[in-house]
Every structure is written in structure tokens, then in C-alpha cells.
């Protein structure tokens, strides 16, 4: 049993911790605000609403338009991981050429997870509040939450998941987000990653109706250097996201790992 002085010390400690935690965002903002910048900090933009992927799928499409980001580079993987990735990509290509595609997460109607969901195959919605930016991708109804002005946890504290744990803050007009805790089998463009994958995003408007997410993947185990890809979106002012439920998935994997399709009306 604890002595009364120990209880008192614990209570004071807890109270101090609560005060420090509550003050942390204010302090962070104050420090950023105090930085001797030449130009005044830009205001937080209104990015709420529906957006669609824009321009960035192809190579060289409308190359003279500065709102279209440069093509995304392939993953700068370290030697052994590069070999594994190349073999995997080649195997998928060979299987496709034979008309027997390899089963993937899509075969099971699993969502893409991070960062692939930011590729916005279907429209994507941003919802801003004072404490959180919520992002919803229509396909598979994928949802992620960027907690604002909260500290990130350590890798060990975050359970692996499809979207990981995202914290962020506004740096002037740019939403800066930090995400960890992505499951190792949730891969972007098939590239392998470790438990130490960290995603750093800078989300900002490049014109009134075009927004970029510059997303840098850092992984000391699998990547030679940080891997930055950019997704561009344009506003869909009159669009409301539709629901998406995987209700009638007819794809399945056979015992050799190839994707098959169930035909006929049998349930």
C-alpha cells in the first residue's frame, strides 16, 4: 500500500502531466509563430469537400501545366528488396500475360490502405475540424484520421493497421502529417516495407482548385533513400461521395494463388 506522500506525489505528477499535455499544442504553435520568417504565415486553407485524382496518372500529360506533378519515381529499394520487388512485379506481369492473374488483396475486396488510398482511384473527401482532418476515399469506403497537434507515438506503441496512426499540424497553408504503423502486407506499388515505415505528407493547394499531397516514405530497412511521390487532386464542387460496400465479390484465389471468378447466380 502506498503512503499518503506517495499518493500526493503521484497526484501532483499526473496533474503536471495533464497541464504539459494540454499546453503542448499551444507551445508548438507559439514556437512556429515565433519563427523569424520573412513573410507572414499563410492562413489555413479550406480543403473540405470532394476531390478527384488529377493529372498524375500518366507521364508527360499536359507537361506544361505547373499544377500537374512530375511523374512518380520507382521505389529506391535496397539491393535484396529491389530484387524481391522486381521478381514480384515480373511474376504478376507474366501471370497477366498468361491470362491467369495472381491473387492480390483486391481479389478479397480488401481496401488499399496507406499510402495507396491517397492515389484516389475513386473520388476522395477531406473534412477539416479544429482537432482532426478526416480523409475518406470512396472505393472500399476507406477512412483515415490525421489527429492535429498531438504527439506521434513510438513504433512499438502503434499496432499495425491498414491506415496507420497519423498526426499532423498546419504549417501556414500546408498540412504536415506523420504516419506510422502500416501493416507490412499493405504495400504501395508492391514495394516491401518494414515496421519502421514512416510516411511524411505535405498537403497544400497549388491553385485555388488543385491540391497536392507530396508524400515521402522513409524506411531505414528497405529503402536506400526517402521515396517521394506526389498525388494531385482537383475539386469536385457538386459531388457527394457514394457508398461502397463489397457486397457481391465473385473473385477468389485458387489453391495455386491465381485469381478466379465465380460465375452463375448461386449465392
Amino acid at each position: 500500500m502506498k503512503s499518503s506522500s506517495a499518493w500526493r506525489a503521484a497526484a501532483i505528477g499526473a496533474a503536471l502531466a495533464a497541464i504539459v499535455a494540454a499546453a503542448a499544442p499551444l507551445r508548438a504553435r507559439a514556437q512556429r509563430g515565433a519563427a523569424p520568417e520573412a513573410k507572414p504565415a499563410a492562413a489555413v486553407p479550406d480543403i473540405s469537400g470532394s476531390w478527384e485524382r488529377y493529372g498524375g496518372f500518366g507521364r508527360g500529360a499536359r507537361a506544361n501545366d505547373p499544377t500537374i506533378p512530375p511523374p512518380n519515381p520507382p521505389p529506391p529499394l535496397k539491393g535484396e528488396y529491389l530484387k524481391e520487388w522486381q521478381a514480384r512485379v515480373q511474376a504478376a506481369r507474366d501471370a497477366d500475360a498468361k491470362g491467369t492473374p495472381l491473387a492480390s488483396n483486391a481479389t478479397y475486396c480488401l481496401p488499399e490502405g496507406m499510402p495507396a488510398m491517397m492515389g484516389a482511384t475513386f473520388p476522395i473527401e477531406f473534412l477539416q475540424s479544429r482537432v482532426q482532418v478526416t480523409i475518406i476515399e470512396e472505393a472500399f469506403t476507406q477512412v483515415r484520421r490525421i489527429l492535429l497537434d498531438r504527439p506521434q507515438k513510438s513504433f512499438d506503441e502503434v499496432e499495425p493497421s491498414f491506415y496507420g496512426r497519423s498526426v499532423g499540424h498546419w504549417e501556414g497553408d500546408t498540412l504536415v502529417a506523420d504516419t506510422i504503423g502500416i501493416k507490412e502486407d499493405i504495400r504501395f506499388q508492391n514495394a516491401p516495407h518494414s515496421k519502421q515505415l514512416r510516411l511524411m505528407e505535405r498537403i497544400h493547394l497549388v491553385s485555388p482548385d488543385v491540391m497536392w499531397d507530396q508524400l515521402t516514405m522513409e524506411d531505414p530497412v528497405t529503402l536506400e533513400k526517402p521515396w517521394t511521390v506526389t498525388f494531385a487532386y482537383r475539386r469536385m464542387p457538386n459531388y457527394t461521395l457514394l457508398e461502397y460496400v463489397c457486397e457481391d465479390n465473385r473473385e477468389y484465389a485458387d489453391d495455386k494463388g491465381f485469381q478466379r471468378t465465380r460465375i452463375g447466380s448461386g449465392k
Partner: protein, 143 residues
């Protein structure tokens, strides 16, 4: 065709054309469908199922020469989200409708395929917005 669908289609085509690895996990591969020929089916709708990840259309197709039994086909469309953005509605096709369908058949030889377009009883032609549709070589419709 809506802007978003056009971009999805164009994107898929450019990704395929560049030999870039397809996004793992987004949507399943269409490689199991024959890209070298199409079939034109004239038949009666038994089911039009409005559901994700793909709508399905089921047809009873009689042999044009009357010598074979009626063949039942299961046709895959795209996501109902893409279709809805393209102007489709769930009540556009009903059981009992006589339709003409252009399909990329399943390579396995089973009576199934990917629907490229469908012509309704009133002559309206609808496309479900198959990505990279230009990679499917069309066979001329038999006379």
C-alpha cells in the same frame, strides 16, 4: 463519360502502356478476359445485380441457328460507383429485357465475360466504363 472516369481509364491505359506495375490492391486484374476478340450476345436478361465490387448482368442466350440449347452467361461490369458517375441507374435494365451485349469472354472458356457495352430494347447503348477499353480488340459483329 464523366471526367473522373475518363481519367481512371486513361490512367489505367497509361500505366499499362508504360509497363508500370499496376497498383497492388486497388482493383482486381482484368487479365483473365480475352483481349484479342469480342463476342456479341443477343439474349434475355435474367438478373441485373447492382452491387460492388462489380455489377453483374446475367443473360440467357439462344443459339442463333436453333441447334444448341440456350446458354447462360454471367457478365461482369465495373463498380456501380463508376457506372453511376457515368449516368447509369439500377433500374435501367430489368429481368426479361432483350439486349445485345458486346463482351470480352473469359479466357477459361466458361460462359462468362467482361461487358464492354450493352444495347437496350429502346436502342440506347450503355458502356460501364471499362478501364483501358481500347486494349480490347473488337471482333466484327456477325451478319
Amino acid at each position: 463519360m464523366s471526367r473522373s472516369t475518363r481519367w481512371v481509364g486513361l490512367g489505367a491505359f497509361l500505366i499499362a502502356a508504360a509497363g508500370w506495375p499496376l497498383p497492388a490492391g486497388a482493383h482486381h486484374s482484368f487479365a483473365m478476359f480475352d483481349h484479342t476478340r469480342t463476342l456479341t450476345l443477343k439474349g434475355t436478361v435474367t438478373t441485373f445485380r447492382w452491387a460492388n465490387p462489380h455489377a453483374t448482368l446475367e443473360l440467357d442466350v439462344p443459339d442463333p441457328h436453333g441447334s444448341e440449347p440456350v446458354k447462360h452467361y454471367t457478365l461482369e461490369l465495373t463498380s456501380i460507383n463508376m457506372m453511376q458517375r457515368n449516368g447509369w441507374r439500377s433500374n435501367m435494365i430489368k429481368a426479361g429485357d432483350m439486349v445485345k451485349a458486346t463482351i470480352a469472354p473469359l479466357l477459361s472458356g466458361e460462359p462468362a465475360g467482361l461487358l464492354l457495352d450493352v444495347t437496350l430494347p429502346d436502342g440506347t447503348k450503355l458502356e460501364p466504363g471499362v478501364p483501358a477499353i481500347t486494349t480490347f480488340k473488337r471482333t466484327p459483329e456477325p451478319e
